[in-house]
């Protein structure tokens, strides 16, 4: 089975995040860029299939600036076989329409059976890219899976996934080729071992521009018209409990008509 895992580099969520007041896009200069945790889990999901069936290949695909190579390297050192890096200054700040067109075009360049993505990135929170890709590629999709397994072996089998979202538990079945997205309930990513780290540098990374993909007329479908920063919250009263805190809290609730 040939798997392509989508990888995204995002600002480190452990640091403060800011929007660029001009563009309304995430200001990537303020925090360190790291591989998105959900991408790591998506890679883990792919590698788990590779562990079970050695003939499986795992290709990473990302769209991002030169620094996104670090995210690919991380995935390659975890055990992926190769990577595709769509890297083009013209794609900086691409909206989800452009992003889905570009990635779909890249996916059409090589054969694959399964695309695995994270359900939503920590910086975008759109969560629509996997389904948009599936739509553009004309394949089935199942998003927000908490777990999945392959049935019936590599050839001719199905993928059976479970999701629990918006108050409903579901089991979904789909064939190949298809696109799935996974949630953070999937297993944690493995740590790359030293052998993996040393080997990652030798693995091939194909670099593509939008022109390489035959895409020239890339116009965003959506534009940001305004960005306003809300003033940060101020700390209010703070008391140290000496036995009377509960009463003070109840008084506070009463003063705000909350009880």
């Amino acid at each position: 089975m040939k798997i392509i895992t989508l990888v995204k580099q995002v600002p480190d969520t452990w640091s403060e995040r800011r929007l660029d007041p001009e563009t309304g896009r995430v200001d990537r200069a303020v925090s360190e860029a790291v591989i998105d945790e959900i991408s790591e889990r998506a890679i883990e999901a792919a590698l788990a299939l590779k562990d079970a069936d050695k003939s499986t290949t795992v290709t990473l695909l990302t769209m991002g600036p030169a620094g996104a190579l670090d995210a690919l390297r991380k995935g390659l050192s975890m055990g992926a076989d190769d990577a595709v890096h769509i890297r083009d200054d013209a794609l900086q700040g691409a909206d989800v329409t452009i992003t889905s067109r570009v990635i779909a075009a890249a996916l059409l360049r090589r054969p694959w059976d399964l695309v695995i993505a994270g359900n939503e990135s920590t910086d975008g929170r759109g969560g629509v890219l996997p389904a948009m890709l599936a739509e553009r590629l004309g394949v089935a999709s199942a998003t927000g899976l908490d777990s999945f397994e392959l049935t019936g072996g590599a050839a001719g089998g199905d993928l059976v996934g479970r999701r629990s979202a918006d108050g409903v538990d579901e089991v979904l079945r789909l064939g190949f080729p298809s696109v799935v997205s996974i949630t953070e309930r999937m297993p944690d990513a493995r740590f790359p071992n030293f052998r993996g780290i040393l080997g990652a540098k030798k693995k091939p990374v194909e670099v593509l521009t939008a022109a390489d993909l035959g895409l020239t007329d890339l116009h965003p479908a959506v534009s940001v018209v305004s960005v306003a920063e809300r003033p940060p919250r101020q700390a209010g009263t703070r008391i140290i409990d000496d036995g009377s805190a509960a009463a003070a809290l109840a008084d506070f609730f009463a003063s705000r008509r909350l009880i």
Partner: protein, 322 residues
């Protein structure tokens, strides 16, 4: 008045998700809402009856044998057919996991602009402008698809408006049944409501517990305070990861974003990811043993103390003053 299509999401048992009220309210701010729903053959009448309660006077109903079996496809096809018939300025869909799948495919099929997770909607001339609350409300941004048709996903609970009931009238919408590859739903179970507590996403009050709660049994304390205040129960990721409570209670960046009147954080340190999901609450109260916990930086009222002594006393106080 321009037409705004409103996609209706039904649960497996056929209930209407309450967030529909938000979609209808947002639709009204730029045009007149027209509901679009897909049901199993023969279910048109019963669903139409219930939609009036959400203020939808007009509903397009597509019947399809694939409802309940094929994943997003029946809804996608109904919306595309409705858009062809009614030429709407916008299509609104709940920002749920299933809703986003529908929105993604509809936007591609209609070559529309896709606005995600909007909390407000207005018209500027011919343009439809969506408003978003980003990074837990730290920023408010607005975006537009310009001249294109707008497909937008709507944050449930973003209006808090109660709809005025009307009588809904239905027209049938024909959709074809050509087969495209789709995931098939082989099992669907609705979560049993464990209590009469309000739903987390739209609750006016939320009481959340963190890792300091210490155990699944300890979480009962959080639930008791929630019940005393008529609040929903939330949790930090640490508490979920520790297995004290199920993931659908998780508040924060990778969980549910809430914006209640009152948010009470018990034993939650307030990591930035958690704050991103609750800092737009009107009033924030925190109880934590660690006086340096960052949650205190944003709390309107903070108590440095042990939740196991403060909370039982607080429950008693609240009940005594009722």
């Amino acid at each position: 008045m321009t037409t705004v299509l409103v996609s209706i999401e039904l649960t497996p048992s056929g209930d209407v998700r309450p967030g529909l009220a938000d979609l209808v309210a947002h639709a009204r701010s730029i045009g007149s809402p027209v509901g679009v729903v897909t049901v199993a053959p023969g279910d048109s009448a019963s669903v139409t009856e219930r939609l009036g309660a959400f203020g939808l006077a007009e509903v397009l109903v597509a019947e399809s044998a694939a409802v309940g079996a094929a994943d997003a496809e029946p809804r996608v096809r109904a919306l595309v057919a409705a858009a062809a018939a009614r030429n709407p300025t916008a299509v609104l869909i709940a920002n749920t996991v299933r809703g986003r799948d529908v929105a993604a495919r509809v936007a591609v099929r209609l070559d529309a602009g896709l606005l995600l997770d909007i909390v407000g909607l207005h018209a500027e001339g011919k343009r439809v402008v969506g408003e978003h609350s980003v990074f837990g409300g730290a920023y408010l941004t607005a975006s537009t698809a310009g001249d294109r048709m707008t497909v937008a996903t709507v944050r449930e609970g973003s209006t808090g408006e109660q709809p005025s009931p009307v009588t809904a009238s239905a027209s049938a919408l024909e959709i074809d049944d050509t087969t495209v590859p789709t995931a098939v739903i082989t099992e669907a179970t609705e979560h049993a409501r464990r209590s009469e507590r309000p739903e987390l996403r739209t609750a006016e009050r939320v009481v959340s517990g963190g890792r300091a709660v210490g155990s699944a049994e300890g979480f009962e304390l959080v639930e008791r305070l929630a019940d005393a205040l008529g609040a929903a129960v939330g949790a930090s990721r640490a508490a979920v990861d520790a297995g004290y409570i199920s993931q659908d209670h998780q508040v924060g960046q990778t969980g549910v974003s809430v914006s209640p009147e009152l948010y009470i954080a018990l034993g939650i340190s307030g990591a930035i990811q958690h704050r991103a999901g609750m800092q737009t609450a009107k009033t924030i109260v925190a109880v934590n043993k660690d006086e340096t916990a960052p949650i205190f930086e944003i709390a309107d009222f903070g108590v440095v103390g042990d939740i196991f002594t403060v909370v039982p006393a607080l429950i008693a106080e609240v009940e005594a003053r009722r």
